[in-house]
């Protein structure tokens, strides 16, 4: 039972973060595509903005790893 709970906690840590990242990236991606269409010189900035929410899922992944290795 304890193992199941640990696995569930790890899955939640990654899953919820992944959903949050996906939601943020969908918004940023849509706005970024429009921005690049009008001002291609902002491609670098858009890439950065798009990659920023990924920190959430990476931190979630780190937490999940720590939970599983506890």
């Amino acid at each position: 039972m304890e193992k199941i709970l640990i696995c569930f906690a790890a899955a939640l840590a990654v899953g919820l973060c992944a959903i949050a990242t996906a939601w943020a990236q969908s918004r940023i991606g849509a706005a970024g595509a429009g921005t690049i269409a009008e001002r291609p010189e902002l491609t670098g900035t858009v890439i950065i903005l798009l990659a920023i929410p990924e920190t959430m899922v990476i931190l979630g992944f780190v937490v999940a790893t720590m939970i599983l290795n506890k």
């Binding site: 920023i52 990924e54 990476i58 780190v62």
Partner: protein, 624 residues
């Protein structure tokens, strides 16, 4: 690195202004500074002002603009041929050129108009020929019947055919036929064959539906239907012949005059650029003063050239760069050949300021390292290496050439890390080739890889803080320098505390570090204000963000292992090889994009924010 710039002031007699500007433009090493022009050495010089163009200058500009428009039109009307380069200097014979250009433009226009008229007639006749051929066939087929009328129409697209059939069925109830064909120019043509008694109703309906009836060309309208086809062929051939003659004449003309007019047009463009620049040059009643920037190591060339050409009548003075000038100094990047392709990444963001750092060498060192650590497979690395060499062979220069060079370096690092991790198209490939992992296998060593990534991140961020510290010291910003030092010391304390979690350490040492961290935090608040601890937390967040090196590396390793496993499950050699190729291709594509984007992000967000100040102006010298 950012090249050192010199602030220059060039002064000389007013009548030499255009010649001086010509020399500056030919050298292409001097950027005019319009903003700085009114202020020299920090003092406003009221007697220096931008000269408004007088009537003579305005007349000259209008004359040149008109001539440029004429020559541009001549070039556009003539066929585009490869021509020799002309070295004519048109300044002395401008009036003659203007008269000749007016005459030649009239000739070219007449030829082009004739050609266009013939082309339009050819198109019209071509469409009508298609219709006539169809009518011929129908006459042959329906010889026994009489009283038929033929209506030709042009259709916008194929979707109209069905609509037209329905309309005709409704109007004449099957008493007519509709045939369609496509003309040589792609127009869809329809032919309606109907009894004469119904033709009026059909024409009215077509008019209501806005389907235009194909008109009979004027030249054919008076001829009987039987002779129209032969006449049409003759007319088409004659037109084609006339068009060929006009084209040959235009080509002959182009061979004789195109190089000349191209040169004139180019000269006019350069001359007008110079004239427009003169409006931003400050002048007095007798002399001019040009303010601007040049690369310090090229300033001597400019001085020598101006001195040689004008025998000391034009003076060049090097001015001191004041603090208020620093924001306006244009930025030129010049790096060793190894780092030069990485300027592509630097150009993706606004340029750094002149007083800041060029991040290109740092990204040149760390980006391939991060990329290699994340991809970490010698097989994938070799594939990307081959792709980079192919791209470099096809496009050795330009943006794609730079991208190929970056890929070449980064994939070499991927091969190196693949050997260290013992991976060749996954861990199974490495075991088959007896690659002994010199580092722990990534798929099984999550925590060690995480610690390694964080340690690398801490080093990278501390390097950024050190560069920021050097900038603060250079600018004599003491409190900023103290904040940087304290931040670095706090990062070191945190690193020591983290280490003490994994290695047994004396209780006293841990307590001492905690006490030191508390003192440093107090110092941080004193020197940087209440927001400084928040900045510190952001810095720690930046370091944790480097965990993505481990996360993406792990996903890359697991993906390649999954590809091998799935290929093995097929149980068939050929199917297995095909599955492995497809799955590894997907893994390589992902392995190219994910490490590249995240490697860039680590630099742009986590690293650059510590020392790069954006907002630099690109160095754009006046040149041809």
């Amino acid at each position: 690195m950012i090249v050192r710039m010199s602030k220059l002031e060039i002064a000389g007699p007013k009548e030499l202004l255009l010649e001086v500007l010509e020399v500056i433009r030919d050298l292409g090493i001097f950027q005019l500074d319009e903003e700085n022009a009114a202020v020299a050495d920090g003092r406003q010089k009221a007697w220096l002002h931008a000269q408004p163009p007088d009537d003579r200058v305005v007349a000259e500009r209008l004359f040149l603009e008109n001539l440029r428009r004429q020559t541009g039109e001549i070039i556009a009307l003539l066929p585009s041929l490869e021509t020799r380069e002309s070295w004519l200097d048109p300044l002395a014979i401008l009036d003659t050129i203007a008269a000749t250009a007016t005459r030649h433009l009239a000739t070219c226009r007449e030829l082009a108009e004739r050609h266009e008229t013939l082309r339009l007639e050819q198109e019209e006749l071509g469409r009508y020929k298609v219709l006539l051929s169809a009518i011929d066939r129908l006459i042959e087929d329906s010889e026994p019947r009489s009283g038929l009328e033929f209506i030709g129409i042009t259709l916008r697209d194929a979707s109209f055919i069905e609509r037209l059939r329905e309309l005709l069925t409704y109007l004449v109830n099957g008493e007519c036929t509709l045939t369609t064909t496509v003309a040589a120019d792609g127009t869809l043509i329809g032919l309606i064959t109907a009894p004469s008694s119904r033709s009026m109703a059909i024409r009215k309906a077509l008019n209501d539906e806005q389907l235009p009836e194909l008109p009979v060309p004027k030249s054919l309208s008076s001829l009987p239907l039987q002779v129209r086809v032969s006449y049409l062929d003759e007319r088409l051939a004659a037109n084609r012949c006339s068009m060929e003659e006009i084209e040959a004449e235009l080509e002959r003309f182009a061979r004789r005059w195109l190089a000349f007019y191209r040169r004139i047009n180019q000269w006019l463009a350069e001359r007008m650029t110079l004239l427009s620049v003169t409006t931003s040059v400050r002048q007095t009643g007798m002399c001019f003063v040009i303010h601007g920037w040049a690369l310090t190591n090229e300033t001597d060339i400019l001085e020598d050239r101006l001195d040689g050409k004008f025998s000391g009548r034009v003076a060049v003075e090097r001015c001191a760069i004041l603090e208020q000038d620093l924001e306006k100094v244009p930025v030129a990047l010049r790096n060793p050949p190894y780092f030069r392709p990485f300027e592509l990444f630097t150009r993706m963001l606004p340029l750094p300021r002149y007083s800041s750092w060029d991040p290109t060498p740092f990204i040149g060192i760390f980006f391939p390292l991060f990329f290699g650590m994340m991809l970490g497979d010698s097989g994938y690395g070799l594939v990307l290496l081959a792709a980079a060499l192919l791209l470099l062979w096809r496009r050795p220069s330009g943006t794609l050439g730079d991208a190929a060079r970056i890929l070449l370096i980064s994939s070499s690092y991927a091969v190196l890390f693949g050997i260290l991790f013992g991976e060749f198209f996954g861990e199974a490939g490495g075991r088959m080739l007896h690659l002994t992992p010199l580092l722990p296998e990534r798929s099984g060593a999550v925590i060690p890889m995480l610690i390694f990534s964080l340690a690398l991140g801490a080093s990278h961020v501390v390097l950024g803080q050190l560069l920021g510290l050097i900038t603060a010291i250079r600018r004599h910003e003491r409190s900023e320098a103290v904040v940087r030092i304290v931040t670095i010391a706090l990062i070191a304390c945190l690193a020591c505390l983290m280490t003490s979690m994994f290695f047994p350490s004396p209780w006293l040492l841990t307590r001492s570090i905690l006490l030191l961290a508390g003192l440093l935090l107090t110092l941080l608040i004193i020197s940087g204000g209440l927001l400084a601890p928040l900045e510190m937390i952001k810095t720690v967040g930046n370091i944790v963000s480097y965990a993505r090196i481990m996360a993406i590396g792990l996903s890359s390793a697991l993906l390649s292992n999954a590809a091998n496993h799935l290929a093995g499950l097929t149980g068939n050699l050929i199917l297995g090889v095909l599955a492995a190729i497809v799955l590894h291709t997907v893994a390589i594509v992902l392995g190219l994009f994910a490490p590249a984007i995240h490697g860039l992000r680590l630099h742009f967000v986590e690293f650059y924010s510590k020392f790069v100040e954006p907002g630099g102006r690109r160095f754009e010298p006046l040149r041809k």
